[in-house]
């Protein structure tokens, strides 16, 4: 485990829809790339080279700078056996670490249970967005799911402030523990109190926060700002999770403009987030994982690209050893898997590295087995 003074924190940014790896880290000197991408291609002269083989998408300059500073691990060709091309199923697999069968417990939910088995902090895990991603779901694990941090809370649908205050007061008295109500009602009451406590504590985060960093207007940017706010409020939160709008990376059509905007947004958001933590002296105990459920088809479809496999993930932070991990999947036609990039390292090894070498947990029960770890966390 890394010996940081403060407890390590993991932030997850999920790029929903399947980000096109080939146009993110572009193999610009490989003629097969241009053969396969007659339309959906980044011209060589626009690529920002990393080495003589690959370079950044031109819209990702802020990300490149973080990489140049040695803060970014690029996890190449990440996937799992028998890639599934359904968004939902593939995302489920990333969430539950079960490629073979359907499961309903998430890896982050399990990790929260490991970290805080007695539920002493209802905010050990916080999700930003409506509805809980399966990654954070595990029976009995309290997780707050915040649609809007500024207005998050119980009974927010009561608009008049004075009425809401009264209603909240009654709510807290109604849900106060009382004997003899039966197990289900007692459980419900406790859950109500947990929710109220979580909301009350979270409400303090925006007040404590000040920063000169101005995030963009997209929901992803705003949620990453919320994550920075909660992290800096020192609420003991160890897992923070958010998702770019549902399936926004699913670029079957008009990919050139859509993907350029997405890359711009992700790169600027991640860079703003990192600057924000840095400025406020809060980056030392944070690692950020950016992942997507799969990459896209090697050959384009004229206007976009279809579902593929063998995507890329990024790990960013002060304690991350920047560089490339895994291999860039081959574009040779006989090395492809049904026309898709062949994965060469298992995402569960990526999780295992984060859980063990960063969070200090035993990863085997969390990711359902032993997987080869990567060496991207700097030992103190």
């Amino acid at each position: 485990m890394t010996s940081t003074k403060k407890d390590p924190v993991l932030v997850v940014l999920q790029l929903s829809g399947g980000n096109d790896f080939l146009n993110t880290i572009v193999p610009y000197s490989n003629p097969l790339y241009y053969d396969n991408r007659p339309n959906i291609r980044i011209p060589e002269d626009q690529v920002m080279p990393i080495n003589d083989k690959v370079g950044w998408n031109p819209n990702m300059a802020p990300f490149k700078k973080l990489f140049d500073d040695g803060k970014v691990a690029i996890i190449q060709g990440v996937g799992y056996p028998n890639p599934n091309l359904s968004h939902f199923r593939s995302m489920d697999i990333w969430h539950t670490c079960e490629p073979e069968k359907l499961a309903d417990e998430g890896w982050v939910g399990r990790a929260i249970r490991d970290l805080d088995p007695n539920k002493s902090n209802v905010l050990t895990g916080v999700n930003f967005g409506r509805g809980l991603p399966r990654a954070m779901a595990a029976p009995g694990v309290p997780v707050a799911s915040v649609g809007n941090l500024e207005t998050y809370g119980v009974l927010t649908s009561i608009e008049v402030e004075q009425e809401r205050t009264q209603a909240l007061d009654i709510f807290s008295r109604m849900y106060s523990p009382a004997m003899g109500r039966g197990p289900v009602l007692e459980y419900l009451s406790q859950t109500g109190m947990d929710a109220l406590a979580g909301a009350d504590i979270l409400a303090t985060a925006p007040e404590k926060y000040s920063s000169s960093v101005e995030y963009g207007p997209s929901s992803m940017s705003q949620y990453m700002r919320n994550i920075a706010q909660v992290h800096m409020a020192d609420l003991g939160t160890r897992f923070l999770y958010t998702t770019a709008p549902y399936n926004s990376f699913d670029t079957h059509a008009t990919q050139m403009s859509a993907h350029a905007n997405l890359c711009t947004n992700v790169a600027q958001t991640v860079s703003d987030f990192y600057d924000d933590l840095k400025q406020n002296n809060a980056s030392d105990n944070v690692v950020l994982l950016v992942f997507t459920e799969f990459g896209r088809r090697v050959h384009d479809n004229g206007s976009g690209t279809d579902h593929g496999s063998g995507g890329a993930a990024f790990v960013i932070g002060d304690h991350v050893k920047g560089g490339f991990y895994g291999e860039y999947p081959s574009l040779e036609s006989d090395k492809l898997l049904d026309g898709n990039l062949h994965w060469n390292n298992d995402f569960r090894g990526l999780y295992a590295t984060l859980l063990e070498d960063w969070m200090g947990l035993d990863s085997k029960p969390l990711v359902n087995g032993s997987f080869e770890k990567m060496d991207f966390i700097a030992k103190a």
């Binding site: 939902f88 359907l102 009974l155 009654i170 909301a199």
Partner: protein
């Protein structure tokens, strides 16, 4: 007010449907309890939901290809269908015979399955199982198109026994062996789906069931003690006559309509909550020739059912649709029409996309700190819309009690019109003391509507409103 009769009718309509307005409850009480049960059991005597206007505005409903369109469509049906038990049974079977969009990616195909549940969900169980066994969505979801004579895939064969008909065991004993699973899977070799017609350029087509006799294991098998050259139909016939099947269906009905049982995997070792009712339902299953309708008649007329009010945690569809039926304005196209379906999802029930073939965990497992916030905020938000027709009707009813009403009349009147909810003494007195500062309430005043709205908001925020 009619007291007990209304309370019992409210209970019936919450369980056999998604709740009813007070006006409807009064009409139904006048008809009588047993007559209402019969009406629910015979959806065909009610007109089907009129869809012309909706289909015209909701263009996603024309081909039903998208998950969202289907979720929105179903939510609309649950709220508005006059055939309430038909929708409730579709949800019942969907929670058992799980098929998920995450794997099938053909929402339209799941819709067709639901239509089967609507049409046959109260009919003979063996017939329903035959529809299920030849349902393309189900065959695909459980990989039976990958099951071949030379390489049998047991997924469908196993789940048919474990999750769809018999369950792993009862009274501490297993219901079948691994050999039975293999025989079952072998009997269903060749039950597959026809090659899909490509989606482009003409749009999506339905998948079709195909029986490929050349890929069927055409030899003797021993299944649950019987030997013969069995095919899928034989397996269904043998399953249907097992006492374990009667028990499994009876217990599922009791779990869904009467009171929350432990999660299904525990059923082999944990006895049912209502053993007498289960026995009656089992007997009726055999007496009626496996008919669900007959079992439901016994269930709804049983004391165990009538005495079970508020013993179940509302599932998210019940929470959302039940609340919308009170508010009464989710009846025609309007902006943000799919929001209620999203709310159901935020509360943990992604319709047409259950997490696994095991389905959703129910009862108190619906509730966690995230979903409870969603439930309370949603219901309170809806009750605050005092201009909506349903809330206006409640205000009018309370006003009819006199030009002034007492705090008690306000609290108890609101509880009653919502469907005779009962609060713990503590919660009841909290609401009373909130209403008390005004010695009496002027029902003609402008503030009265807001006062009622606030009281309704507080009531739907209680623990008690989380129960059905």
């Amino acid at each position: 007010m009619a007291g007990n009769d209304i309370a019992l009718m409210a209970h019936l309509m919450r369980r056999a449907g998604f709740g009813s307005s007070y006006e409807e409850l009064e009409k139904r009480v006048a008809k009588g309890y047993e007559a209402t049960v019969e009406e629910l059991l015979h959806p065909e005597v009610q007109p089907d939901l009129e869809m012309d206007v909706m289909n015209r505005y909701m263009h996603g409903w024309r081909d039903m290809n998208g998950l969202m369109a289907n979720q929105g469509y179903w939510t609309y049906r649950m709220v508005n269908s006059p055939r309430q038990l038909e929708e409730k049974m579709a949800l019942f079977w969907h929670g058992i015979f799980c098929v998920g969009d995450s794997k099938c990616m053909r929402a339209r195909q799941i819709l067709l399955e639901l239509n089967n549940f609507r049409a046959h969900g109260m009919g003979p169980f063996d017939k329903l199982l035959m529809y299920l066994s030849s349902d393309p969505a189900m065959l695909y979801y459980l990989d039976n198109q990958l099951s071949h004579k030379e390489a049998v895939n047991e997924n469908w064969g196993r789940e048919l026994l474990e999750l769809f008909s018999m369950g792993v065991g009862m009274d501490g004993q297993p219901n079948y062996t691994e050999d039975d699973v293999q025989a079952c899977a072998q009997a269903f070799t060749g039950w597959t789906i026809a090659n899909a017609i490509p989606r482009y350029p003409y749009g999506s087509y339905e998948n079709r069931f195909l029986y490929n006799r050349l890929d069927h294991i055409d030899e003797d098998k021993t299944f649950l003690g019987e030997t013969g050259n069995f095919n899928g139909e034989d397996v269904v016939r043998i399953i249907a006559k097992q006492p374990a099947t009667a028990r499994f269906i009876a217990r599922h009905l009791s779990n869904y309509f009467v009171s929350d049982e432990p999660q299904v995997p525990a059923w082999q070792h944990v006895a049912p909550l209502h053993p007498e009712l289960i026995k009656e339902l089992e007997d009726e299953y055999f007496r009626s020739g496996y008919e669900l309708k007959a079992m439901l008649r016994v269930l709804f007329n049983s004391d165990a059912f009538k005495n079970s009010s508020f013993a179940k945690v509302k599932n998210p569809s019940e929470m959302v649709c039940g609340t919308l039926r009170v508010v009464g304005d989710f009846t025609e196209p309007k902006p943000r029409f799919y929001d209620p379906a999203l709310e159901i999802k935020y509360m943990g029930q992604d319709l047409l996309n259950p997490p696994t073939v095991e389905g959703w965990h129910t009862g108190k497992e619906w509730i966690d700190s995230g979903t409870l916030v969603e439930r309370v905020n949603f219901a309170a938000g809806e009750m605050g819309r005092v201009e909506s027709p349903g809330i206006q009707a409640i205000i009018k009813r309370l006003s009819s009690e006199g030009t002034t009403i007492s705090a008690e009349q306000l609290v108890d009147g609101c509880l009653e019109v919502l469907g005779c909810y009962q609060l713990s003494e503590d919660n009841h007195s909290l609401l009373l003391s909130h209403a008390q500062p005004a010695a009496s309430l002027n029902t003609n005043s402008q503030e009265f509507a807001l006062t009622v709205g606030q009281m309704l908001q507080l009531i739907v925020s209680t623990q008690e409103y989380q129960f059905n």
